[in-house]
Amino acid sequence: MTTLLTGAAVLGGEPRDLAIEDGVLVDPSAIDRDRAEVIDASGLVALPGLVDLHTHLRQPGGEQAETVASGVRAAAAGGFTCVFAMANTNPVADTPAVVEQVHRLGLEAGLATVRPIGAVTVGLAGERLADMTMLARSAARVTVFSDDGHCVHDAELMRRALEHAAALDAVVAQHAQDPALTRGAVMHEGPLSAELGLGGWPAVAEASIVARDAMLAELAGARLHVCHVSTAETVEVVRAAKARGARITAEVAPHHLLLTEELVRSYDARFKVNPPLRTDADVRALREALADGTIDIVATDHAPHAPEAKLAAFADASFGMVGLETALQVVQMACVETGLMDWAGVARAMSTAPAEIGREPGYDAPLAIGSPAHVVLVDPAARAVVEERHLKGRSANSPYLGRELPGRVLHVWHGGRRTLAAGEIVTGEIVTEEVGR
């Protein structure tokens, strides 16, 4: 089967053709055009399949909110071909049995590659290290370790985890939140938290942990990845650590590039997320940091919740927002339409760089001939109000419902297999071999 995409703006550049054959990108001039399926891609931007280093798929244990199978539908709808599944499931992904289960569920679901993340500490309890080497050597091949949802806040544990990670060429992805500074915190600390009478989460609780961890990573000769950077203060800490030569990478979540704490005025728990929505100044600093490379990647922190977890008083509701379906639209709005980034930059921040951090092969030469055919076609001129029907996962706790966003992900190929066609999920046969390696 050969597919020819004609006239696509590849990475936002001059229109040209792309051809997909046997799961890889091939030279369009070398195919038999009469036997190819032809898709008119004029006016569309071609991007490499997106890679999300930070997704909560909730399985096992949280199936009322999301499963691996429903989560990869959300991924495909958003243009993602690979998602890294966070370890805060129930049971926690701290044993080979759990990561191998998630890995297998991903293979069965198809639509996207699912890469389980391993816990840093047993039960995410922050008391003793998980068996990181066993997780790395399992069939799930864990390359990213994270206690996300909790900060590895004991400095010695963090140091030893980084030492293990260095030996495994793995990365520790830290949820940077000093627990002592954030007791009862449910929103950004500042004049607005004072006015609303909600517990404040000061910016320093993030930046101080990142400063410490960068030094520990240098000591261990390890790679550190900072999850969901949310403040201008943390951006400065990351910038300084990079300038020293620390092996530190950082991510920003789409909602922190677009939304501010002002939304919390409604007490609507759709806007409750951890780390919290911050200020305009933070949003500006995060956008600039992503554009200049201080922040390496965008990662969704897709966090599905059943309705009852959000239909509660703000302090009582769960933290988190779904984000896979809308991530690319938000980045287009916050960074492309503002002139801060071009599409090649988006491809780097949402595909090449996260794959590199997570050691996922096949994404290092985006849309190049010979690369696995992870391809996304986006209509950048579309604009639509986000509605529940656009959300393809199991949960609808999106902060963008009712808000107009630009761009539309139309078609997605994962290792040459079509997963999204004209915006609709293509339910294929069950795949049990690994795709696109």
Binding site: S193, A194, L196, G197, D268, A313, F314, A315
Partner: protein
């Protein structure tokens, strides 16, 4: 007026509400304290947190207006069995009640209920957010103290009020910091630095001036001082100071009372005598503390009347008094 969720309201609306409370106040001198205004109306006092005095005050206010008043307490009800705030609210609304008075430990809960249940909601205190009827009764009592029987139509222009205590966790302080300046008063918040809320870039806190030193504020001879209830068990030793430290810095002791002159003293209750203020201060003729309790019934009658009386021509209150809803 659809709901009373916040004490943030324009001056003329606040004055009108206080004037309505003056009308209600008159009936306290009557032998038969009952108006027929809310006959046939049902008000539910939905209290997720214990509060004998606020609940009783709302209950008396409703009964003096001839409403049927039902008390639903969070404890021992389905609420304590895990029923959600929303389901509880919808259940009560489905019983055909006309208005709900809500006390909750969660900031913003009354605003959410107002959205969900489509009935008038009165915020009777939500978490560390607001307690608008408390601010109204404070303003009412203070206005009477200053203007006596000629209070009607007046505001609190130029009246300097110091609010002392755990400002960060006080819904009373928040509502007063909104209402009193709208009435022309100058508010200063006073408390141990860890118990002051985060400052804005201009240095104000909750939109008004803050000052850590009670002694400096006393030297300024304010016209009124409101002492807030202090709960030192809250993060003792970390956020809150010890009792001895609090008394040293922020208690209205006899010595400070003497220096304070003739300022009116307010306290939302319940008092910790010897901690927030000395017994001599509480019992002095400067103390308006029992007048506040009396004012509470009048103000809550005015609020229930404005929300629930079908013949009350109050549409011009509507926008801002319900300002906390969306």
């Amino acid at each position: 007026m659809r709901h009373l969720l916040t004490a943030s309201m324009p001056r003329d609306e606040a004055v009108a509400l206080l004037d309505l409370a003056e009308d209600m106040h008159q009936i306290q001198d009557r032998e038969l304290k009952k108006l027929p205004a809310l006959r046939g109306r049902t008000v539910v006092n939905l209290f997720f947190e214990d509060s004998t005095r606020t609940r009783s005050s709302f209950e008396i206010a409703g009964k003096w207006l001839s409403a049927d008043v039902i008390n639903v307490s969070g404890k021992g009800s389905s609420v304590s069995k895990g029923e959600s705030l929303r389901d509880t609210g919808l259940t009560i609304a489905a019983m055909g009640v006309d208005g709900v008075v809500v006390r909750s430990g969660a900031s913003g809960a009354p605003a959410l209920l107002a959205d969900w249940i489509g009935r008038p909601v009165v915020n009777a205190g939500d978490g560390t957010h607001e307690h608008p009827t408390q601010a109204l009764l404070d303003a009412f009592a203070l206005r009477r103290r200053i203007h006596g029987d000629a209070a009607r139509g007046k505001a609190l222009d130029g009246v300097r009020v110091a609010i002392v205590g755990d400002i960060a966790h006080s819904r009373v302080a928040r509502s007063n910091a909104l209402l009193l300046p709208a009435l022309g008063a100058e508010v200063t918040l006073v408390g141990p630095p860890p118990l002051l809320p985060p400052a804005a870039s201009d240095g104000t806190r909750l939109g008004v001036r803050a000052e850590p030193s009670l002694d400096r504020v006393i030297d300024e001879r304010p016209d009124a001082m409101m002492l807030l209830r202090v709960q030192l068990e809250r993060q003792a030793g970390k956020v809150a100071p010890s009792a001895a430290e609090y008394i040293t810095g922020w208690s209205l002791t006899d010595e400070r009372l003497a220096r304070l002159g003739d300022a009116h003293l307010l306290h939302p209750g319940p008092m910790n005598r010897g901690l927030e203020l000395s017994s001599r201060a509480a019992d002095s003729d400067r103390s308006a503390i029992l007048e506040q309790v009396t004012a509470g019934v009048s103000v809550r009658m005015a609020v229930l009347y404005a929300l629930l009386a079908s013949d009350h021509p109050a549409p011009d209150h509507a926008s801002s008094v319900s300002g906390g809803a969306r």
